[in-house]
Every structure is written in structure tokens, then in C-alpha cells.
Subunit: 276 residues, 2 copies
């Protein structure tokens, strides 16, 4: 499996610095984040990655489709359309969606989930016109209230399957899905439908930190069986990259170059040990 | 729906104090914890609850069936048998099981899940001889690595359905299952099979605290739609209690009598608002 570095893993590096780090460490692909693209503009960002020869595996992120008012939803849709243009501009065909949590003050989970389907339906045709696929990312259920009411791969597929696979698919992120008792069947189902648009890796480490958003570890530091994860996605037909995306304050505070070296080393070790 | 107080909600009270609090506040049932039973002995504990007239809805908790070595598993089984005797001795027919996480150093999640089935199979006949039903509690997926490899109601039912319903069923705890996209179908399935052996309530509040085990709120303080939860379990045939179990350091530090009053008041408000 080929390696990609998600830019959020080296949060303090600019897009140019992250791209340079990948090139120097022999990592052939990168996943970008909108804030670092916007910082220099789509055109400059696109030029940097094209010049580098790196493949751009994804752009993070669109989504947040669950807002309560029609006005907020329209604003979210407009922002998602900008994200589609950014994705196309930097040369990736995958826009990752974090769908959003419960609207402020609401406990209507089925309603919020319905809003996700509506939002994806509103966005997908525009994305398709620009050659961009939407990748719905199920987030770990501990983020259900505040970040993503889509909590499992099966649920993400239930939404995605309303649309053609070349328009809407899913992200398989080890951190978010490793615990799922239906993981095998859901990954296989995603593969059969050509719905895996991104495969991301980071590890589940304990104890969880005060901010659970930042409790992720380098591949191999935690409790996830990555050999099994790679075997599952490979068996499901995934021939893309393993994109390493780690949110962790300590890692963010560390030297970016060292972090990229660690990401590369862990990938090599895993590939050697797992055969993937 | 009738109210029960789980003793862990007033962790600092002894069994006698918690029972007294229920009686004074007109709460007709209590769920007990083993440490507070063992503190005074099964016989004394049984006498206190019988004298009080309270119903005992459950004993917490057995389980932790996933240990890696045969010796550890044998010790766990022996301890679970003691828990069965304690349950019978205090007059409840429900022993709640928290099944255990990954064994130390292991990443073999399917293996640990298999060990749960083996452990339940070893315990269920003994429990049945003593008139005690095992209630498998799926824990929120954020506890998968360290506390419970059973993460969903559907998965708990997959295990329970290997056994007669009068031997093995499940706990529906709002905190652990509220996010589940398959909640409706799993609760209905549990009801059809007479597998709901306990229904517990506490709320999902944010932000999660440093120790996520203690991040639970009084009913109504968080993001869970309890009217929907009660409607689901009632529609599934549940005619037992709503047992309020809250792990929260602030609530534990508060005056126990005030906490019991709050539990009662929230229950009354919810019953009035929801019709359950």
C-alpha cells in the first residue's frame, strides 16, 4: 500500500513545507486541508503540488450540513461549493465530509441525520460537475453530539448509496471505525460498490486526553490491529493510499520533519509486517 | 415507567443509606453494586432491602471475561459465580455484565469478542441454577479497548441469542447506545426476544471530562432524547423500571439526598412530558 501524509498530522507546517517534507522523505502523496490552501490561494497551492509531483489524495473538509436554520444550511452549502472548487483546483477528486453534529439545543438525532442526506443531495451534482467525489466520513460515536451524526461505516453507506459511486462514497478511517462489530461486512460492502474514496490511518491510544479530538497516536502506538485493517480494505479492492492523519497536540508540537520521518518509518514497518 | 435508583449514582452512600434515601423519596426500586453489598455481607444487605420493601432491579456487575491467560479467565469465572450468589442473595434476578476490553498488549479484537461468548457460556448455566439472568451491557465504543469489546446492542444480542432468554439478555443504557443508527431495530429485536433485562438512563453531556468514564449527566442535562428512548423500550415491551445510573464526580461529591431528589424530579418531569 502506498503512503500519503495528511497535512493535519503536521499542523504547524504550511502547505509548501508539508509538500517539501513529503518529497524529501519519499512520500508520494498528500492530503490537504482547506485552511492551508486558502492561506496562499487555490492557484498557488495547485502550482506547488503540481511542481512537486505529489499526488493529492484528498481535501479536508466539507460537511457540517446539520445546522438548524434554512439560512445556516444555505451558508453551509455555499461553503461546501467553495470546498469543491478548492479540491478541483488543487488537483484532487476527493472532498472529505465531516457531516456535523446535533444542531444547537436539538436532541433530534433522526432529524439531523435526515439533514445530512438532504445536504449531500444538494451538493453532489455540483461536485460531480467539477469532477469531485464526496467522501462521507463516519466519526467515532463519541463525536455524535457535536461533530458527526454519521457514526458508522454502514450508516455512511446508507447515505452514499442514494447516489452514484462516482459521486458519493465513504472514508474508512481506522480511528473512527476500528471498534465496529460490523466492520468486516461494511468494508466489504463499501468495496463492492466502489465506495471507498479514502483510507486513513491513525491509532487509538489511551488514556483519552482532556480534548478527545486530540487523542490519536502514530500507527503502532495504540490498540488498533492495522494488519487486519489493511487486509480488510485491500480485500475490498482498495488500491489507493494509506493516508496518515493524526490529531495530537504533542505530535503537533514536535518537529514536523521528525514527524514525517516517523510516519514513513511506521508505514514501512507495517508494510513489511503485514504484507500490505 | 417506574423509577429505580442505581446505587452508583450516590456512590458515597452505603447500601443502607441509599436504600433509606429511596424510601424517603418514594423511589420504589434500587440497583445495587457489589462493593457496597460485600461491605456488609450478602445476608445483611438482603435483609436491609427486604425490610425496606424496595425491589432490587439489578446487581452491578460481573463480566471482565476477556483476560488473556487461562488462569485469569478461571479467576474471572470464579468471581462471576460469587456475583451470581450475591445477586440471588440480595433478591435480584439480574446480574449486569461489563464484558472487558482487549487483554493487555493484545490487538486481537475478534479474539476478545470470542472470549466473551465463551465466558458467558461458562457462566450462564450456573446463573440459571440460582435464578439469575445475565444482562450483557454494551458499552459506548469509546470504551472498546479498555472496558468492553461489546459495543452495540446488536452485538450484545448476537451473543445473548446463543442462550435462552431467561438466561441471557442485554442492558439498554441510554448513555451507551443513544448514538447507534441501528438503535430502533436493535431495541425492537431485543424486545421480541424478551432480552431486555435492564433499562438504564443517564445523559450524554459535553465536554467530556478528562476521565471519560465520569462524563455522565442527570437526565435532561445533555443531548439524549429520553422521550424517544422510553418510547422505543416501551414499544419493545419493556414494563420494568427506568434505572438511573450516573457516573459523575461532581454528582458524587454532591449531597446524596439532594441527588436522589434530583433523580426523582427529573423522572417525574420526563414522565409528564413523554407520557412514559
Amino acid at each position: 500500500m502506498k503512503l500519503a501524509l495528511n497535512q493535519a498530522t503536521v499542523k504547524r507546517l504550511t502547505l509548501a513545507e508539508a509538500v517539501d517534507g513529503c518529497v524529501r522523505h519519499g512520500i508520494p502523496a498528500i492530503g490537504l486541508w482547506r485552511d492551508r490552501v486558502q492561506e496562499i490561494g487555490i492557484e498557488a497551492a495547485g502550482k506547488i503540488v503540481r511542481t512537486s509531483g505529489l499526488e493529492v489524495t484528498s481535501l479536508c473538509r466539507g460537511g457540517f450540513l446539520t445546522a438548524g436554520s434554512a439560512e445556516e444550511r444555505a451558508a453551509a452549502l455555499a461553503d461546501n461549493r467553495r470546498a469543491v472548487l478548492e479540491a478541483a483546483g488543487v488537483g484532487t477528486d476527493v472532498l472529505i465530509l465531516v457531516v456535523g453534529g446535533l444542531p444547537a439545543g436539538s436532541r433530534d438525532l433522526p432529524g439531523a441525520r435526515g439533514a445530512v442526506l438532504d445536504g449531500v443531495a444538494a451538493l453532489a451534482p455540483f461536485a460531480a460537475e467539477h469532477g469531485v467525489k464526496l467522501a462521507i466520513e463516519p466519526l467515532h460515536p463519541m463525536f455524535c453530539a457535536d461533530r458527526a451524526v454519521v457514526s458508522t461505516l454502514g450508516q455512511a453507506l446508507d447515505i452514499a448509496e442514494h447516489f452514484p459511486a462516482e459521486q458519493v462514497g465513504v472514508v474508512v478511517d481506522t480511528y473512527h471505525v476500528w471498534w465496529d462489530p460490523q466492520l468486516e461486512e461494511s468494508v466489504a460492502r463499501a468495496g463492492r460498490g466502489n465506495r471507498i474514496h479514502s483510507y486513513q490511518e491513525c491509532d487509538w491510544i489511551l488514556p483519552l486526553p482532556a480534548d478527545v479530538l486530540l487523542g490519536r497516536g502514530h500507527v503502532g502506538d495504540g490498540h488498533i490491529d492495522f494488519a487486519r485493517m489493511r487486509e480488510l480494505v485491500a480485500a475490498a479492492g482498495w488500491r489507493g493510499h494509506a493516508e496518515v492523519e493524526i490529531f495530537n497536540q504533542e505530535i503537533w508540537d514536535a518537529d514536523g520533519d521528525q514527524t514525517i520521518a516517523t510516519v514513513r518509518a511506521r508505514h514501512e514497518a507495517l508494510s513489511a509486517a503485514s504484507g500490505y
